[in-house]
């Protein structure tokens, strides 16, 4: 598996020595797997809203495309659920290259939500996803609440979708009309508690699908935002999206990314992500999907 795929793990209430709400870690899963191989049966089943997962290992949106890209490399059926790359109402070309920069133990990306738009997604990508046999969670994004609502209505009509992840936290989106590099960071929905509440609520009123709000770490107090999402009707939370960041080429004295700024992921951010998950888990009761810096490793 390519290194850039963080693995999400769903938090469950496990009796850990360090407290009830400690997030699942690799060690714990390994121990479970050991018991499994010794003939002891342990259920890894997890629930996210209405979605039943055979195990709590998921892929983070944007790292796994629409799953078909990895079909030859990974047994897709082994995943607990698949979260797609973010879909928007209309197709998006994405940002100017370079879109990826390697940083110490991390990756800086500014893809800019390149995607074929919801109609092409349904006609081309969803057909493959439906056949895999694991719950499919479609990540959706947009500039306005109305776009999220329209996407929700459209996707709720389709069979084979178990849930929606609301990408209200992508740090790399510019205004959809311009295609110039632009450093001015607009405020994200996930950076405003009222906007978060309004959006989740509006989407909630339009679907019965499980809703997962994906939050940004680029805030002063993520707990406040998390509470707004819960109040709006989110069934679970994805924590976290990438950290807003940049890199400069010291030779050319120019930013390395075409978009100037991007989002940092990879092992470099794992301790930061973990702390966020822990912080939010103290305060809310809905499941948290932890992500950031998680890698698949083949032994």
């Amino acid at each position: 598996m390519a290194e850039m795929n963080p693995v999400k793990k769903v938090r469950r209430d496990i009796k850990h020595p360090w407290g009830k709400s400690a997030p699942l870690d690799n060690e714990y899963l390994t121990r479970q797997a050991e018991c499994f191989s010794n003939g002891v049966k342990i259920s890894l089943e997890t629930k996210l809203g209405k979605i039943k997962l055979r195990n709590p290992v998921m892929v983070a949106s944007g790292t796994f495309g629409y799953a078909e890209e990895f079909a030859e490399l990974v047994d897709l059926k082994k995943l607990g659920a698949i979260v797609t790359k973010t879909i928007t109402l209309n197709p998006r070309k994405g940002n100017l290259p370079p879109r990826i920069v390697e940083t110490p133990c991390g990756i800086l990306n500014a893809i800019g939500l390149e995607n074929p738009g919801v109609e092409d997604f349904i006609q081309e990508k969803l057909l493959f996803l439906k056949k895999i046999g694991v719950p499919i969670i479609v990540s959706i994004g947009g500039d306005k609440i109305e776009e999220f609502v329209e996407l929700t209505r459209r996707l709720s009509k389709e069979e084979g979708i178990s849930g929606l992840e609301l990408n209200i936290s992508c740090p790399n989106v510019q205004q959809a009309t311009s295609h110039k590099p632009q450093a001015t960071s607009q405020k994200l929905i996930a950076q405003d508690e009222d906007a978060t509440y309004e959006l989740v609520k509006a989407v909630r009123e339009n679907t019965n699908l499980t809703l997962i709000a994906k939050l940004s770490p680029n805030v002063t107090d993520i707990v406040t935002i998390a509470k707004s999402a819960v109040k709006g009707g989110s069934d679970a939370l994805s924590l976290i999206n990438t950290f807003s960041a940049m890199a400069i080429d010291i030779e050319t004295r120019k930013p390395k990314l075409g978009n100037i700024i991007g989002g940092l992921s990879g092992p470099a951010i794992k301790p930061l992500a973990l702390k966020t998950v822990w912080e939010v888990a103290q305060q809310i009761d809905i499941p948290i999907i932890g992500m950031g810096g998680r890698l698949f490793e083949k032994k």
């Binding site: 598996m1 290194e3 495309g65 490399l73 990826i100 390697e102």
Partner: protein, 301 residues
């Protein structure tokens, strides 16, 4: 079929200063590989560097004793990943994924016309594998009519000349400093060869350095090297109306087309070429839709 395996390093030797050849035992990958495809190598054992490194497949050879197909890569030491790779000893294991990407598509050629392979620097790497396949596919009558142009900075950095000659190719060399053969860029050498057999030579362009070459006229071009070189070759191909494919180099993340990190601007496909504005473009993924592209579709920056 894409495969991820831990492959054994069979050898890792310096061929000239800064250039290394690594032979890997990965028969499953080697059997499926096509010229122009690449393998994606995890150079470190940890998180630094985090991303894999892409190397085009340089050569497939059959090891006689064990009757297994071995695969070679040719690389230049220039960064963090390749500096780690240099340290790998025979017997060590390397995590690789491959074969990846879309390689060269061989043009069907009439027997009177010949392909020319143009490689600049370490860009020569995939062309050896391509020449093997071209030689294999040629009819006995036209056998070994492949022209190879090698570009190097100096005499010392001329790569793979012997390999091509062993395959029966006609090899021409261009060195930047003139320390061997033609003095100048490999693109200039290409033009010297294209121009005499064509009426499409740019007006006012004088050819000062006559190059004798038994293989003329050229039917198609396959090239790999630094981007400015490929851009010039694309221009020549357009001017002389010769089909041309180039293998591009780009930093990648996932390597399988999922992340959309390594995109390239290309001309949108039909059906509406007339309605198309000159600014119109689409992005293609170098790792999945490439790394080999027809030069006609690339929008050069």
């Amino acid at each position: 079929m894409i495969i991820q395996i831990l492959s054994k390093v069979i050898s890792n030797t310096q061929i000239v200063e800064n250039y290394f050849k690594m032979c890997l035992d990965a028969p499953a990958v080697a059997q499926k590989a096509e010229p122009g495809q690449f393998i994606y190598v995890h150079t470190s054992d940890g998180y630094q560097p985090l991303l894999r490194r892409a190397f085009s497949i340089h050569n497939i050879r059959r090891e006689k004793r064990e009757n297994r197909e071995q695969m070679e890569i040719l690389y230049k030491v220039r960064g963090e990943g390749t500096r780690i790779l240099v340290e790998k000893k025979a017997g060590e294991k390397l995590d690789i994924i491959g074969p990846l990407g879309k390689g060269f598509t061989l043009y069907p050629l009439p027997s009177t016309l010949y392909p020319v392979l143009v490689g600049g620097g370490v860009g020569i790497a995939p062309l050896v594998f391509l020449a093997q396949n071209l030689a294999k596919n040629q009819k006995p009558k036209t056998k070994n009519r492949i022209l190879v142009l090698i570009g190097a900075k100096t005499k010392k950095e001329i790569l793979c000349k012997d390999e091509f000659e062993r395959l029966g190719c006609e090899v021409k060399v261009a060195t930047d400093d003139g320390s061997q053969s033609f003095k100048g860029k490999v693109t200039e050498l290409l033009e010297e060869i294209l121009a005499p057999s064509s009426k499409l030579q740019a007006p006012g362009r004088e050819l000062k350095k006559p190059v004798t070459c038994s293989l003329q006229p050229v039917a198609c071009i396959y090239a790999c090297g630094p981007s400015p070189m490929l851009k010039e070759i694309a221009q020549l191909a357009q001017q002389y109306k010769i089909p041309c494919q180039v293998s591009l180099e780009e930093r990648m993340a996932c390597g399988v087309g999922a992340c959309r990190g390594c995109v390239l601007k290309v001309v949108p496909p039909p059906p509406s070429p007339l309605l198309r504005s000159p600014q119109d473009f689409i992005y293609k993924r170098v790792c999945k839709d490439g790394p080999v592209f027809e030069t006609g579709e690339i929008i050069w920056e």
